[in-house]
Assembly symmetry: C2
């Protein structure tokens, strides 16, 4: 076998890079659990008819076939899930009788899309989703709750006193607000206006205006007011007065304004210099079936990645015809954030291995004694490995150095000693009692200061 080449769109990490990803996932999981979210893992595979319910992603689905299968065999009609919402909705329906509602779950899994690979777009990637699902009803305060949970989780990732990711800016809007606005304004096709306004991050304003008039049938003046609405953003509830100043009113609009203002007021106290939530009335989330709150999120310095954390409220996440399950959720693109940061060298770990200690070997015959030392250290939670060969000590130390292992343990004529190979400091030690400083116990994420970072 010749040296294999990477498959484009299927990112993989080296061990130190994978450690960063593990830390990020563990941090997210812990944050979600502190808010009472239970973990769920669904199978990777769903029936094709479920995957194709949303027409616009059908071309991205990977279909499965057994190698020896005739057409229409028992595995026909299955594909890999392309998000965690479709399988979760199916899981809720399948297990509704065994779940307690409102049901809070988090799910951190890989998903697959047969897309053309490009920066920040992968064919296999990890997402971290939180959702709250109700039975028949789900009060609006749960919209506030998921926002606060995700803000809390992102705050654990951002900043140098945590994992060290760049800051996150969560942008929130409300479909009732914008749809109510367009309807009150007399737009003949509200959904079409929303679809065109969603293009503002790709097209110039003048171009979108032309489309609003030409395709959505708005007058010049109506188009200007829709574009005016989309320019409004604020970190507090001052956006309400700015919307009112546009001179449009209606029941649905008021309901949306009230919901969004409530959410912003409840979340503003969680803002830090690294994580913030703002009302941004340009956010629409295109063709997705949201019915109220909608979220997008930008990563500071990496705005070209687009939204790395999106979601919203579905009045019918799932339905079996008799019972409807409304939901509100938000999905963080773990790979979308991490792969660029890790591949550009912005984030790594200070070790390639979990080992805190390399137990050096005097000679091959002393391996059982070295194993006993290692066993004593492990019994107290200190990860270690025994040297692979009884090479010269200098070579064993360099072996530890190359892996980033901070301590080497020696069994000397003067008794056991442990050397901090960063400082060169060597002291007498007993495997039954010695402890490394807490900061050395596990590998740490390292934020490179000299790596090329961000969009510029």
């Amino acid at each position: 076998m010749t040296k294999p080449t990477p498959l484009s769109g299927f990112p993989e990490f080296l061990p130190a890079q994978r450690f960063v990803e593990q830390q990020v996932i563990a941090t997210l999981a812990r944050a979600f659990e502190l808010h009472g979210f239970a973990n769920v893992e669904t199978r990777a595979v769903e029936p094709m008819d479920q995957l194709l319910r949303k027409g616009d992603t059908s071309k991205e689905v990977y279909v499965l076939r057994r190698l020896q299968e005739e057409d229409g065999g028992r595995d026909a009609g299955m594909g890999l899930h392309f998000d965690l919402t479709v399988p979760f909705a199916r899981y809720v329906l399948e297990n509704a009788g065994k779940l307690e509602f409102p049901f809070r779950r988090y799910q951190i899994q890989k998903v697959w899309r047969g897309e053309r690979p490009q920066e920040g777009r992968f064919r296999e990637f990890t997402q971290a989703d939180i959702d709250i699902v109700g039975k028949d009803v789900l009060p609006f305060h749960h919209d506030v709750e998921v926002t606060r949970v995700m803000l809390d989780a992102l705050a654990q990732l951002a900043g140098s006193d945590s994992i060290g990711l760049p800051g996150f800016r969560l942008q929130v809007n409300n479909r009732k607000l914008i749809q109510g606005f367009y309807a009150a304004l007399g737009a003949p096709d509200v959904d079409e206006v929303m679809r065109l306004i969603d293009k503002l991050d790709k097209l110039p304003v003048a171009e979108v205006k032309k489309l609003l008039v030409g395709e959505a049938g708005l007058t010049d003046e109506q188009a200007d007011r829709c574009l005016g609405l989309a320019t409004i953003s604020a970190g507090d509830d001052s956006f309400v007065e700015r919307v009112r100043a546009l001179g449009v009113s209606g029941e649905l609009l008021e309901e949306g304004l009230d919901e969004l203002a409530t959410l912003i007021r409840a979340c503003a106290p969680l803002n830090t210099d690294k994580v913030s939530v703002i009302a941004d009335l340009s956010i629409a989330r295109g063709l997705d079936y949201y019915t109220g709150t909608v979220f997008e999120t930008r990563l500071d310095g990496y705005e070209s990645l687009g939204s790395i954390c999106s979601g919203g409220r579905y009045d019918a996440l799932a339905s079996d015809g008799r019972t409807t399950y409304p939901g509100v959720g938000i999905s963080l693109g773990v790979s979308r954030v991490l792969v660029p940061l890790v591949q550009r060298g912005f984030l790594t770990a200070d070790r390639q291995v979990p080992s805190v200690v390399l137990v050096a070997l005097n000679d091959e015959e002393s391996r059982p004694a070295a194993d006993a030392t290692a066993t004593a250290l492990r019994a107290r939670g200190i990860a270690c490995e025994v040297a692979a060969t009884a090479a010269k000590f200098g070579k064993q130390i360099r072996f530890a150095e190359r892996r980033g292992i901070p301590y080497v343990w020696f069994d000397t004529a003067e008794g056991h000693q442990v050397k901090d190979i960063r400082s060169g400091n060597q002291v007498a030690a007993d495997a039954a009692t010695w402890e490394p400083p807490k900061a050395d116990l596990r590998p740490s994420v390292v934020v490179a200061t000299d790596a090329s970072t961000g969009d510029n």
Copy 2:
């Protein structure tokens, strides 16, 4: 959408069951890390030519196709991995220049096989693999090491003072021993003898003997000695004398005897009443390409599941033509062990949610105050949720009860109080200082005593 039905062979867990799986995976990961094993995650997809290198599993591979793809498109020729060894060998070759050898890695991921589903056989399942890979050489002491690491990990799972799984019996043999024995005996086709001896767990001895004579060309007396060898097992190195008593000798046989005796002597001290390692000379591992040590493992009371943890030594785990990477590894079938135990109700968790505390609501207006209490508890690592509605307290308590949440927090006229709803005990409490007993901080795995367990 009508109520979906489960897909046979794709097991999924309810939240409390998933908690058991999370605990098992976290326990394994921690054990592997204490021994210096780094985590690696490979993509789910490999090129078909890699997946088909071992002819005998080809029929089980799931092939991928994009829905809109013409034949021979850019995603043609990819399939889902059916184990973690093939992708790991590819990963080692692809990243050899960036890895330090001997390279210890653990990998816990799902794999897929298009098999006909049956008890203990799934089409999607989780495996936990450890391997040590060398560059050009890998000393035998690493065979001892992986055995000890897996014994250590299994000991963390078995028994009522840990996760509560049944006991594990690790059976070890050595290909050099049995192949050397058959060769020294004059068997015309050593591999064929091994393949037939491997059938002893499915066919009666007399039947296997008939095959050894009829298909492997052995004399009656040779066949008896091969079958005699396969009856030998021992928890110590006494098997060596019993093999010698069969009156066969040869260089390869001696090497195998020496390796197996070394391994058993080094591992015997780790035996407990729940986890043990024995030399079992009937173990052959069929057609797999092992070249020395081979492992199988039985779960006490669930012997019908077959081997739930298998592996061995490959002298060439991977090779790029110039460099060869020998490896030794062992793979635990996490789903194979857990799915039957969980589905039969033998293992579950005492809660459906991570929450330790439900913060009760006096009325909807007091939600911000309840949120503040919850925030204070979370800041000290206490998972909690705020009641979904301000129902009567009795109803809020029953809500907590149904989820297994042990404490309900009240904001009363006499100040804050917390009730242990198991004992009914209610005490004054301050969210800034109150702590639950450590045992309540996270959900616990519960071993049912009345569930139908095991094979009988």
